[in-house]
Amino acid sequence: MSLRKHGLAAGGLVLGAALALTACSSGSSGGGSSAGTGGAGGTFSVGLEKFQALTPSNCYDLYCAQVNRALFTGLFQFTTDSSGALTPTNTELTKSLNSPDDGKTWEIELNPGFTFTNGEKVTAQTFVDTYNYAANGDNGQQLGFIFGPGSLDVQGYQDVADGKSKAMSGIKAKSEYLLSITLNAAMTESLFKNFITGPQILPMPSEAFKDPAKYEKQPIGNGPYKLTGPYNNQGLSVVKNADYAGTAGNADQIDFKIYADSNAYWADLQANTLDVTNNLPQNALATAPQVLGDRYLNTPNGLQYSFFGFPANDPTFKEKDVRIGIAKSINWDEINQKLYYGTRQTATSFAPSSIPGGGQDVCGDKCTFDAAKAKELIQGAGGVPGNTVRIPQLSNETGDVQKAICNQIQTNTGVTCTVEMFKDFGEMLDVTQNGKAPNGTMVGSGWVADNPTIQNMIYFFWTSDSPGNVAQYKNPQFDKLLKEGVQAKSDEEQIAKWQEAEKVLYEDFPGYAYQFRNQVGGYSTNVSNVSISPDGLIDLNVISVNS
C-alpha cells in the first residue's frame, strides 16, 4: 500500500488541483483494437482516490473533477490544439463570448435548452448565483479564489469574500441567457478564458444553496450523466441523463470506485475488475507496459512539475556557481528512466509544451548533467560551506527520489547529502522562511497547474509577495515582467513577457524545475477508446464498452 506519494508532490490535502472539463484530445487515440469496439451502451468502472467534495465550487482535486465531468457541463473546456497545447474552447452550453470594452467586461451568451436533472433551467442567473455562492467566504468554498486578485479579479469580489456583501457587483445577468462579468482590469480573451476555465466552477441549481450538505452527497447537475443516489465511501454510480441537451455519452452507466490508494487500483486493473484509471502506483510503472500492452496510457507533458529552490537566507547557497553545480550534478534522465520508467521528463523550464509558449529550453546548460563540470563549479566557488546539502522530503513521500538525488550528488561532487524531513509544505514554509532549517537545506515542492499559462506555473513560488515564496526570491524585474504579461494586450506580447520573466528567473537561478510528470493510467479489456489528457483527466463520454 503506498499510503505515501512518490516524488516531490504537491503534498498536503490534495495531490493537486485539476482543470475542469477537459479535452477530447484531437484525434482520439484509445485502444484501436478492432475486435469488439462496441458502440453505445454498457457499463464500465472508473477508479478514483477519495475526493474532498463533489460540490463544484468546492471541487479542487483530480478525482472530483473526473466525476463532475460526467455530471456537469460548464462554460468552457480545454482542448489540445494542433501544436499539442491546451486551449480553452466553448462547450455546447456556450454560444458566444465577447468583450464590448476591450477586455474589462466579458459577455457570455448561453445556448437555451440546458436543464438540471431536477428540471431547473440553466440560465445566466444560474451562474450569477453559483459564482456568488462560491466567492462568499462564509461558505468556505475552495474555488472562490478564482474571482479574486491574482486570477479574474472581478469587481466587488473582496466584499463578498469578507462576507460583507452577498453579490459581486461585477457579475450580472443582463438577460435570461446573457451573463456579464466585469473585471477590475482588462485582460486578453485567452487569459480570461484560461482563468475561468481553470479550476472551473460548474453551474449549480438553487437547491444547492438551500441545503449544501444534502447537495454535497448527491449533486444535481446539467451534464450527460446523473447520479443514481448519494455517494458513499465505496463510490458512486451515474446513468445517462435522458434529458441532456448536448452530445450524449457512449456508455449507459459509469461506476466510480473509490480507492484509498493506487496500489489497490492496480491490483483490480490487472484482475480486470476495474476498467479505467488515470493513476498507477509507483510499483506498477515497471511492469504496466508489458502487462497492459496498448492499454497502458502514458501522456507526456502533464501540467505538473517538481522544483528545487535554494533559500536566499541560507549562506550555503550564496554563490551562484554552487547552486548551478548542484543542479548539474544530478542526472535526471537517468533518474526518470530508472525510477520512473519514462513516466517523467527532465524539465528545462517551468512550463511543459502543453502550455502555450512552454516547452522551451530556458535553463540550458545549467540543467544539463555534467559531473566533471559540476565538481569544478562547486570547487571554483570555494566548495559548499559545511560540505553538506539537505534535500527536502515531505512526510507523505516515499523518499526514493530523494535517495537517488543524494546518491548522484555524493557520487558526482563528493558533497555529503542527507534528507531533511518536513511534515508538509506549510511546515517547510514556516521553517525555512524563519531561518530555522539547518544550513544547506534546499526547499522544493510540486505544482499542479490551475490553467495552462506560464504565469500560473511560476507566480506562486517566485513572486516577491507571494505566500508560497519558499525560497524567498525577490527580484522586482521578475515581478514586473510577470505583471506586464497579465496586462498585455495581445497573446504574443503576453507570452513574450512571461517567457522573459522565466529567463530572468533562470538567470538568477534561485531554483529550477527539474521534472515534468506524465499522466499515466490504463484500462481493462472491457473498454476501448480511452485516453488521458495532459491535465490528467479522461474523457468518459467517448469510452465505449466492448460487446
Binding site: 477519495k50 467566504g137 468556505g140 479564489f145 465511501n233 480507492y259 491490483a267 484482475a271 514554509l429
Partner: protein, 307 residues
C-alpha cells in the same frame, strides 16, 4: 459481580475524558492543520480563514478541546475539513471494520484452536513441528508483505476473489484480508491452545480419568478442552478490540472502507476531531471487550471472585 460490572462501567467515564484529552493533545502537538494545505490551496486566503474560524484553529488548545467536548455532550461530534460529519463516517465505516475483525477472530478460533489441539495430541511429532514452523513464519513476515502476496495470488493470479474492495460482500471480500489481519495472532492462539492443553493433560483429574480407562477422545472432549480453553478465550476477547484498531494497513492494501483507512487519512490531515472521535470509540470497544473477558473469566473459572 453486578457491583463489579457497574464499577467498571463507571470507570469508563474518566477514561473517556482522559483519552479524548490525550489524543486531542497529541493531535495538537502535530502542528497547525493549515500547514497540510497544498500550495494550490494556499492561493485562497478566504478559504484558510474559513477553516480557521470553523474549526477554532485560532483558539488555545484547551479552549479548542473544551469546545469539542461541549459539542460531543450535545451530540455534535464535529466534521472533517471538507464538511463530512464524524458521526456519519463512523456509522458508515464502523460496521465494515467490525465485520472484518470478527471474521479475523473467527479464523483465529477455527484454525488456531483446531490446529492447536491436534498439535498437542501429536506432541513432538512432525505435525506439531511443522505447524509451529508455519505459524512462526506468519508471525515473522511483515504484514504488508503477506498482504500483497496473498492479494496477488488469490486476486490476480488465481482470480478467486476480487483483489480489493467489499463489493463481493461477506465472506468473499473479507476472507483474505481477515486472514492477513489474523495471521500474527493465529500463531499465538495455536501455541496458547497447545500449551494449555498440554498443561491440562498433566493435571490430576486428567490422570484420574485416564486411570478410569476412559477413551482419550472422551477425556479430551469432556474435561480437557473446557479447562484449557480459558486462557484462549480471554485472549480472543481482547483480540477483537486490538484487531479493530490494527486494521489500518490491511484496510489500505485491500481497499476496505473501514475506520482504519479514515483514521490514517485524518491523522495525516490533522483533523483532530475525527481522530479523537474514532479513537475514543475504539478505546471504548476495547474496554467493553476487556470487561466482557473478565466477566467471562469468572464464569468459566469458579475460583475467581470479584469483590
Amino acid at each position: 459481580m453486578g457491583r463489579y460490572v457497574v464499577r467498571r462501567l463507571l470507570q469508563m467515564i474518566p477514561v473517556f475524558f482522559g483519552s479524548t484529552f490525550l489524543i486531542y493533545f497529541l493531535m495538537n502537538a502535530l502542528g497547525d492543520p493549515l500547514n497540510t494545505l497544498s500550495p494550490q490551496q494556499r492561493q485562497n486566503p478566504a478559504y484558510m480563514e474559513y477553516l480557521t474560524q470553523s474549526f477554532n484553529l485560532d483558539d488555545p488548545f484547551i479552549v479548542q478541546y473544551l469546545k469539542y467536548i461541549w459539542g460531543v455532550l450535545h451530540g455534535d461530534f464535529g466534521t472533517t475539513f471538507s464538511g463530512e460529519s464524524v458521526w456519519s463516517i463512523v456509522v458508515e465505516r464502523f460496521p465494515v471494520t467490525f465485520l472484518l475483525a470478527v471474521t479475523a477472530v473467527a479464523i483465529e478460533i477455527v484454525l488456531g484452536i483446531s490446529i492447536g489441539i491436534y498439535a498437542a495430541l501429536k506432541r513432538g511429532k512432525w505435525f506439531d513441528n511443522v505447524s509451529l514452523a508455519v505459524a512462526l513464519v506468519f508471525i515473522a513476515i511483515p504484514l504488508f508483505v503477506l498482504g500483497f502476496t496473498l492479494q496477488w495470488l488469490f486476486g490476480i493470479k488465481l482470480g478467486w476473489v476480487a483483489p480489493s474492495g467489499i463489493a463481493q460482500g461477506w465472506p468473499k471480500s473479507y476472507i483474505i484480508p481477515a486472514f492477513v489481519l489474523a495471521a500474527g495472532s493465529l500463531a499465538y492462539v495455536l501455541r496458547l491452545t497447545r500449551q494449555s492443553l498440554l498443561e491440562t493433560f498433566n493435571m490430576d483429574f486428567m490422570r484420574t480419568a485416564k486411570a478410569k480407562g476412559l477413551p482419550s477422545r472422551t477425556i479430551l472432549r469432556k474435561y480437557g478442552l473446557r479447562n484449557s480453553l480459558i486462557p484462549v478465550v480471554t485472549f480472543l476477547g481482547i483480540e477483537l478490540g486490538t484487531l479493530m484498531g490494527g486494521a489500518v494497513i490491511t484496510e489500505g492494501i485491500f481497499n476496505i472502507p473501514g475506520i482504519g483507512q479514515q483514521l490514517y487519512t485524518s491523522i495525516r490531515q490533522q483533523e483532530a476531531v475525527v481522530v479523537v472521535g474514532i479513537t475514543t470509540l475504539l478505546i471504548i470497544v476495547y474496554m467493553l471487550s476487556s470487561l466482557l473477558v473478565d466477566v467471562l473469566y469468572a464464569v468459566l473459572d469458579p475460583r475467581i471472585r470479584y469483590e
